[in-house]
């Protein structure tokens, strides 16, 4: 039972980071009809700009690192939106997929030229402290990562449900033409959505970097596929469903690692995906028609 609870909490920490990246993916896909394959690399850029920013402040500087991560990822997201995604809006999904994949290749290898292809140590922005909550042992870094991701997800959910632009976002997801007819500035909302998704990824990236204590130019590969699968399994009709599936995937992987074997961990997501797509092709909770 203790092992179960421990793996459950470990899974929730990882799952929350999947959820943040998956939500960014889902926002871009539902609103812009673009599979933003460079999104995980925006996450990666945020990790490194956060690290550089933290380097300016002696002795930690968590807030500075978060700021650096947010600024870096938002800037790179805005550049991608302006140069690649906006000109291709309305094109076939595959065209944008290949184009953003090209962007992903550029970002990964560009970063590999700067920092080298191997993982490098990431500054531990928080002290190594353990907390015992009942039978579960959590580090401060894990708790910070979970807390930050939860905060981001709650804010994103409030944004989509309660704010004016957020509602416009959902209107565009449902019917872009009708939304435009009702006076929504589709181009503007798409842009803002893209920026916000990038900012979220950058903030989460700093927490993840600090959690694992290492950063690599190719960290996006793993996150990209997982986040993509979360979006598909959940379907893109309900924003909160993507979050739930992200958390569930993290927990499921942790349980498989704990009880079965760690080599099967990465396979879990794919078997879930095949099963769900076969039984419910539009995802567990339904999708907007494309």
């Amino acid at each position: 039972m203790d092992l179960f609870l421990q793996q459950l909490s470990n899974g929730l920490v990882i799952g929350s980071t999947y959820a943040v990246v998956a939500v960014g993916f889902a926002l871009a896909f539902t609103v812009l009809r673009v599979i933003q394959f460079a999104h995980p690399d925006v996450f990666m850029i945020g990790m490194f700009t956060g690290m550089v920013a933290a380097g300016f402040v002696p002795g930690g500087g968590l807030a500075v690192a978060l700021l650096g991560g947010a600024v870096g990822s938002t800037a790179i997201g805005a550049i991608i939106e302006r140069t690649v995604v906006a000109p291709l809006r309305g094109r076939d999904v595959l065209t944008t997929l290949i184009a953003t994949l090209g962007v992903s290749v550029i970002l990964q290898n560009g970063m590999a030229v700067i920092v080298g292809p191997d993982p490098i140590p990431y500054p531990r922005l928080l002290p190594a402290r353990f907390y015992e909550i009942g039978p579960v042992l959590l580090t401060l870094r894990q708790m910070f990562c979970l807390g930050l991701c939860a905060l981001l997800l709650v804010l994103a959910s409030l944004y989509v449900r309660r704010t004016h632009i957020g509602r416009a976002t959902r209107a565009i997801a449902e019917r872009p033409d009708v939304a435009a007819a009702f006076g929504v500035d589709v181009r503007r909302v798409c842009q803002i959505t893209f920026w916000l998704a990038s900012t979220m990824a950058g903030l989460a990236a700093v927490a993840v970097g600090s959690l694992y204590g290492s950063a690599s130019a190719f960290v996006g590969l793993l996150y990209g596929l997982k986040a993509f699968i979360c979006m598909l399994v959940a379907g893109n009709r309900y924003f909160e469903a993507v979050i739930a599936v992200g958390l569930a995937l993290g927990v499921l992987e942790a349980l498989v690692t704990g009880y079965v074997s760690s080599s099967l961990r990465d396979a879990v997501a794919f078997f879930v995906l095949i099963g769900v797509l076969y039984l419910r092709p539009n995802g567990l909770f339904g999708s907007y028609a494309t």
Binding site: V84, L101, L232, L264, F270, F271
Partner: protein
């Protein structure tokens, strides 16, 4: 005179990539863009490898078996995704490919994580040339056949195609099987060149390469996949002078082409539509007498706009 040994691997990979991309083109002709190319090629490779290494079967029958296994896998995927819509289909094939990769990773009989080794070299430039030409011939004959036209009609509008008497399910299964058989054949030949098959070769990111080849060249003509595979296989080699920057340049070229020609490098201009080349407008090709476009026939009865060109019959 540059050393031929330097160019041989590049030539072999170019020819094999051409064959696989042609196989993908055949699959995509009926609108099913498979994301499991590498997995199908890998299954072909494993099948032929097991036969030659463990059962002592000669090379040619083993390659035929590889093609058969590839085709069988394609048939299964087609049946699995028959009812699925375009986008979901791509993702199911993607997931199936990854699942096979994991299966190969955990199956000790075929080497598991340690890869499948012990294959004997059978493949040279000539073998690959034969494979590429065979793939081209099959795709070329298929392209102009009744079935090829039916496949395009299914791709453009399954509803319209079905109303004209085309069996959508049959066409989709046949194209997927045929294309996958070509990919399986190329995969079997490739395995006997690399002499080792690793489970990661079956993964999504390898499959994605072939999709990039196809979309880069354009999937409207048979020349498209060939051009895409040749250019994008040779390009990273040609960019060797750029050292560590070469993959960045590679990415820039892909992004540039997608922005400049979103439908790929080679596109098809429909009959009767003016063609523009470098800003010059050419006179539109005249429609042959009595030729009908699907939209002329179908637009009064069907919603949306059919763009399939039907053969006069």
């Amino acid at each position: 005179m540059p050393n031929l040994a330097f160019f041989e691997p590049i030539l072999i990979f170019t020819l094999l990539n051409v064959a696989m991309t042609i196989g993908l083109y055949v699959t995509a002709l009926s609108g099913q863009l498979s994301m499991a190319t590498a997995a199908i090629a890998g299954v072909g490779g494993y099948a032929s490898g097991i036969l030659t290494v463990k059962f002592g079967v000669p090379f040619l029958p083993a390659v035929a078996a590889g093609a058969f296994m590839g085709g069988a896998l394609g048939c299964i995927l087609a049946l699995l995704t028959l009812k699925m819509r375009d986008f979901i289909l791509k993702l199911t094939t993607l997931a199936a490919g990854e699942a096979l990769s994991v299966l190969a990773f955990n199956w000790d009989y075929i080497g598991g994580a340690n890869s499948f080794t012990g294959l004997e070299p059978h493949t040279g430039v000539f073998t690959c040339l034969v494979v590429a030409l065979l793939a081209f011939y099959v795709a070329w004959r298929f392209d102009g056949s009744r079935l090829g036209y039916a496949a395009r009609a299914v791709r453009d509008d399954p509803l319209a195609a079905a109303s004209m008497g085309v069996s959508v399910a049959q066409v989709r299964i046949i194209t997927f099987t045929l294309g996958s058989a070509l990919i399986g054949m190329a995969g079997a030949v490739q395995a006997h060149y690399l002499l080792v098959i690793t489970p990661s070769q079956l993964g999504f990111f390898v499959s994605l390469n072939y999709v990039i080849f196809l979309l880069f060249g354009g999937l409207q003509t048979l020349a498209g996949p060939i051009l895409g595979a040749v250019v994008l296989t040779a390009l990273p080699e040609a960019l060797r002078f750029a050292n560590e920057y070469r993959l960045i340049v590679y990415g820039l070229i892909i992004v540039g082409v997608m922005l400049w020609r979103p439908d790929g490098l080679l596109t098809r201009t429909p009959l009767g539509v003016a063609r523009r080349i470098l800003g010059f407008t050419l006179r539109p090709a005249r429609l042959p007498k009595g030729a009908l476009r699907a939209e002329d026939v179908l637009s009064p009865i069907l919603p949306g706009d059919g763009v399939a060109m039907t053969k006069r019959n």
